[in-house]
């Protein structure tokens, strides 16, 4: 064990797990003791979702080295498939926890399938094609779910595509006991709020275990080698498409599970929530947290999700202040003087700062 921790990467990984666990224990204890503000309490689950999103996008952008501009599309697929699963199983599975887990699994599987379909043709190519295709994918998913009408009654699921815009829930021909799950443009309405903070924590931990172990494994080294030099990787016999597809599908599946948790945290969800802006927002988390740096993504996601809410004091100017803070963070992290100052505060870093400066 001692030997194990001597390795720097292993130590970082364990510190990441430890950090997440400590943060969860503190927040959970405070929540149980009812010492949290309502606003903080309301943000616990969405923060977990966006942490998972950031970790999953980091796998694509930082570790695989491909740009994905439609990650919210996978979240959307996961969210709506998860909601459909959770609501249609309401009668047969009374346990909330079981339905939540099923919803997350279904969301992950559906998003993985979507990721596979997108990835198979695109990941064979060299260049920025993935960025373009995922951008289109995000928009297509948004429009498709806008047309989707889904209901459930004792005869099973009723699904309909409202392509002409002239259909509504009544056209599903459900029986009296039917429940409309997704009402086209209106999105999902009347969703049971099943998501819980502990489940969010479990999901975050699960994603961390998957990603960190993947990166440190033989497969992960293959993926990293493709990122760094594709030709060299091919020359040593690595199946480039296979490994790229593997990383991308895992990333999509995790985004889907985050979406399912997010969807089940609110009583209503419309597909426009997962637009291009959401994709870029998650990309901002990843870039500011550091490409390829998992714990950086976690911190960036938490801070940047909480920031707009914390800025409510500024009233109408809060998004302006948010933008300024983002710019300042970018400038500060690239500023040598700031780094030197940081070096003085943290003696351990001095060596690195000196070497750089």
């Amino acid at each position: 064990m001692k030997n194990l921790l001597k390795k720097k990467t292993t130590r970082t990984d364990f510190l990441t797990y430890l950090g997440v666990i400590v943060a969860f224990v503190i927040m959970f204890a405070l929540q149980q003791a009812d010492m949290l503000k309502n606003s903080t309490q309301g943000m616990l689950v969405p923060v977990c979702c966006f942490v998972v999103m950031a970790v999953s996008l980091n796998l694509t952008v930082g570790i695989l080295g491909e740009l994905s501009l439609g990650h919210a599309g996978f979240m959307s697929v996961g969210a709506f498939s998860g909601i459909i699963a959770a609501m249609s199983l309401e009668q047969s599975i009374p346990s909330d926890l079981a339905r939540l887990i099923i919803a997350i699994v279904v969301g992950a599987i559906c998003a993985a399938i979507a990721g596979f379909i997108v990835g198979v043709p695109v990941l064979r190519l060299q260049g920025d094609y993935l960025a373009i295709v995922t951008l289109a994918f995000g928009e297509i998913i948004k429009e498709l779910i806008n047309c989707l009408i889904v209901g459930y009654d004792e005869n099973g699921l009723h699904v309909m595509f409202n392509l002409s815009g002239k259909l509504s829930v009544e056209n599903l021909n459900m029986t009296e006991n039917g429940v409309a799950i997704i009402k086209g443009a209106q999105g999902a309405v009347g969703v049971d709020k099943l998501a819980t903070f502990p489940m969010g924590f479990v999901l975050v931990m699960l994603c961390l275990v998957i990603v960190l172990n993947l990166v440190r494994s033989r497969t992960g080294r293959a993926i990293l080698s493709i990122r760094d030099n594709r030709i060299a990787a091919e020359s040593v016999g690595i199946n480039v498409t296979k490994y790229r597809l593997m990383a991308f599908v895992i990333s999509a599946a995790m985004a889907g599970s985050a979406g399912a948790l997010f969807g089940l945290n609110y009583s209503t969800l419309s597909s426009t929530r997962f637009d291009f802006n959401t994709s870029i927002l998650v990309l901002v988390y990843v870039v500011l947290g550091g490409l390829g740096n998992i714990w950086g993504s976690i911190i960036a996601a938490v801070v940047l999700y909480v920031l707009p809410e914390a800025l409510r004091e500024f009233n109408d100017y809060r998004m302006l202040v948010y933008a300024i803070v983002l710019i300042l963070v970018m400038l500060a992290t690239n500023n040598d003087q700031f780094k030197a100052m940081l070096g003085r505060i943290l003696p351990k870093r001095r060596k690195g700062a000196a070497a750089n400066g």
Binding site: N38, S39, S168, A185, S270, G292, I299, V303, E313
Partner: protein
């Protein structure tokens, strides 16, 4: 290298947060023993006109009530939700931290649905001034609406057209990615079919394609439409009016309450809106004293003519006030107790406000009041 970057980000973030923590705590111009009323709406972003109208309308009502100097004093706090459901829930939680006892809001339908289920679980009395979807109140006994529901608007529009313009050839252009527009269109089409109205053309658009309507307008013109029904918001309507004029297509334009606000849109040539008919419960040109006072006060403070959203919010605050007064609530009561008292009151009371006389509420939360159609002439609303 990368790790140091991250550390710096975290540090900077922590510093920002600690700075902010410093500014906390000074908010709230709360007088002691005042009821705390929360307002939620899009104060920034695309729908900011609605959110700000609600905020201003509610503020005027609160100031008037406080000036009366009675037992009931009100404190108001507004939070921004950029018309997004999850941000709205965050705003709701922030207001709860402030100590909100009654919620007047949210402003938009999607947000209202999300917040209504929170308010129902918490037993917080919620009165949305302008959330019009029927799903907001469904199954929630402590959630009420001031404005018409979407189904009611569609039905009322079809009824009005069948009474006054029964032979018109109707074209509809609606936004099929928002629930408001789609909801009104659905009930309008159903009622129109029942009344034997002729719909000759239907065109749709989404938020992403709301800049060019030539396809939909050409289709409507080719189908020989002479009445254009627009169950949409005014920004898009202004583009449609402009393009229709360029094309030389001049049907009668009929809108619903989302059309309200078109005259105050910055940079909009109001001559384009001449002859537009709309269903709205509020007209800033109404002769009665209450409306006149409200409009002049609003103009003085905020420099523009109030729209229906402002009037809805103004009414909402007065409805809460009347309810609190009749139920004999005091400001030290918990929000759960106030909720129970107000739910009992609102279903039995009758309210005369800016947006309708003799408003009553059923236990389901829907308001019942008469709709009113107005025509835009010389840049103001007049009764046809």
């Amino acid at each position: 290298m990368k790790k140091r970057n991250v550390c710096a980000v975290a540090m900077a973030g922590a510093m920002c947060l600690s700075l902010l923590a410093g500014c906390g705590g000074e908010s709230g111009d709360t007088a002691d023993n005042a009821f705390k009323i929360g307002v939620i709406g899009p104060l920034t972003g695309d729908n900011a006109i609605y959110g700000n109208a609600v905020k201003y309308g509610a503020q005027i009502a609160v100031d008037e009530i406080n000036a009366l100097g009675g037992d009931i004093q009100l404190a108001l706090k507004s939070e921004d939700d950029v018309a997004a459901a999850d941000t709205s829930v965050n705003a709701y939680n922030t207001l709860k931290d402030w100590g909100m006892q009654v919620l007047v809001g949210p402003t938009t339908s999607g947000s209202s649905i999300a917040v209504a289920s929170e308010a129902n679980a918490d037993r917080m009395f919620m009165l949305t001034p302008s959330g019009s979807s029927a799903d907001i109140t469904e199954g929630k006994d402590n959630v009420f609406q001031v404005c018409f529901t979407d189904p009611n608007q569609g039905t009322a529009a079809a009824d009005y057209i069948s009474e006054n313009m029964p032979d018109s050839k109707i074209a509809i252009i609606y936004q099929n990615d928002i629930d408001y527009s789609q909801g009104i269109r659905n009930t309008f089409a159903a009622e129109a079919k029942e009344k034997g109205l002729e719909i000759v053309s239907e065109g749709t658009f989404t938020a992403d394609t709301a800049t060019d309507f030539s396809v939909q307008l050409t289709a409507a013109q080719a189908a020989g439409a002479d009445l254009l029904f627009l169950p949409i918001y005014y920004q898009e309507a202004s583009v449609i009016l402009n393009q229709a004029k360029t094309m030389g297509f001049a049907p009668t334009v009929f809108g619903v309450d989302g059309m309200d606000g078109i005259l105050t849109l910055p940079g909009f040539d109001t001559s384009l809106a001449e002859g537009v008919m709309l269903l709205t419960p509020f007209s800033a040109d109404a002769e009665d004293e209450k409306t006149q006072n409200f409009v002049s006060e609003y103009k003085e403070r905020y420099g523009e003519v109030p729209n229906q959203f402002a009037a809805d919010a103004y009414d909402a605050v007065y409805i809460v006030y009347e309810g609190l007064k009749a139920a004999g609530c005091t400001a030290d009561m918990s929000y759960e107790d106030i909720c129970e008292a107000l739910v009992g009151q609102i279903t039995t009371m009758t309210f005369d406000g800016l947006t309708g006389a003799d408003m009553t509420w059923t236990a389901t939360g829907e308001v019942s009041k008469a709709p009113m159609a107005v025509v835009i002439e010389n840049g103001t609303y007049v009764l046809p």
